[in-house]
Symmetry: C2
Subunit: 270 residues, 2 copies
């Protein structure tokens, strides 16, 4: 029996649906979502903290803190009556040296203390910031586990966070695996590359890979070479993760370390 | 005894500090901070929700919801196993009609269910969105109370949220009180005003005041006139709140209502 036009349409629709479902079923998409969400929560935390610091600045304008987390903690613990905060408690938050300074500032502050109602709002805001921080910690643990499971070679070769960012930028593991090393090297440097092509600025040497300590701490003139070296090995590792599923990252890493020494000594001879 | 240069310097420094402290002590600054924070949290909620919908979209791509809150609630309650969600439970979230549709979609969805670990992350994200919503509710209550206490005339004349936004835009109550009505009318329309001056676009008729139902629902040709009427009375109310502290908003409102009728009938005669 020949299938009718309607039957054919339905069959093809089912096939298309199955293919979409299949694409999304690998779990690597969750990893991409997780790292994107993590980065977005950085923005969220900054927005909330800005408001907190602006608002609590009315009551304690002298307080400056290098770390957002300790600022928020101070508001939660001592924001109601900053002058009655004990030195030890403050030092737990800021460390001994900075704690001393904050204590002095609290004693001499020109700001009044917030009312009951005002403080309730400030505390809530600080708490919210802390909650976001906790969510990020859980996400980070999820990302780590997920990387070790799904892209073990990449996660071994570079830090799992960098591996996840590469994956997110590429869009999917198979895309990453099929990219030439030169593209991988510049993932995340799209803007700089654009400026190079359009305005003739200096071409970028690395994108996401710049977050690697091996590159950041390398000699300036070797950085491009090191980035290229990593990109080549990342490309091989991605193929292993995507297709063969064999663990070869150990050898790749040894290879990298050997080459790093070569690069280092070659530079020395000049 | 004549004061030395150093003593004079100190005395003036103390005076300056006291004046700054005094400026910040009125509590109206907290109100400004509260409304600004409220608006910023709208942004924050949107950012989080975007990520949630993008991520959960992997598992239930068919789900579309008009309300962010009900989407988040669905994820929290039924996100783990959407097919086993009961129709009644879904209807509680979405209402009977939309609930029916979502139930059908869940049954036929092409998405797989999230793993234990993936679901934990999604739930956390949805919870975070709900928490922000709660913070906003508390802030709103704070804003309402604070408005009734500090700017009773303004809060009576227009909605307390609009009163607070006017205050925030002006920067402080005394600034608002000293503004001409025409400036108040255009508070919040700075961009449009700029376009008018610079590019010769049509001049704006209202800024924040456009959020008032009396204006939004007014006849198109009367809106500017109504906005001007309100701006004039707001200016008087702001002066009462800032300087005399007498409650005169009731008479102002009666005045407005009388004038609104006039405007309405005048238009009718044309």
């Amino acid at each position: 029996m020949k299938e009718t036009q309607e039957q054919k349409r339905r069959r093809l629709l089912e096939l298309a649906k199955a293919s979409v479902a299949n694409t999304y079923s690998t779990g690597e998409h969750s990893l991409v979502q997780a790292i994107n969400t993590y980065n977005e929560l950085d923005k969220v935390k900054n927005l909330i903290h800005e408001k907190l610091e602006e608002w609590y600045g009315i009551y304690f304008p002298e307080l400056r803190s290098g770390s957002m987390a300790s600022y928020a903690k101070f508001v939660m613990e001592f924001g109601k009556e900053k002058k009655s905060a004990d030195k030890d408690g403050i030092s737990v938050i800021f460390g001994a040296k900075e704690g001393e300074r904050v204590f002095e500032q609290a004693q001499k502050s020109i700001g009044r203390d917030p009312s009951e109602g005002e403080y309730a709002m400030l505390r809530m805001l600080a708490k919210q910031e802390e909650d976001i921080e906790h969510v990020q910690k859980d996400l980070d643990a999820f990302i780590k586990e997920s990387c070790n499971e799904r892209i073990p070679n990449l996660a071994y070769l570079v830090d799992y966070r960098i591996a996840a960012e590469l994956l997110a930028k590429a869009g999917s593991l198979s895309k990453l695996a099929l990219m030439p090393a030169s593209t991988i090297q510049l993932l995340g440097a799209e803007k700089a590359l654009f400026k190079h092509i359009k305005f003739g600025k200096k071409p970028p040497k690395y994108g996401i890979l710049f977050k690697m300590p091996e590159i950041t701490n390398g000699k300036r003139e070797s950085r491009g070479r090191i980035a290229r070296l990593y990109a080549t090995k990342i490309s091989i590792a991605a193929r292993a993760d995507a297709f063969t599923r064999r663990f070869i990252a150990k050898e790749l890493k040894e290879d990298i370390n050997r080459r790093l020494k070569e690069i280092d000594s070659r530079k020395g001879r000049r």
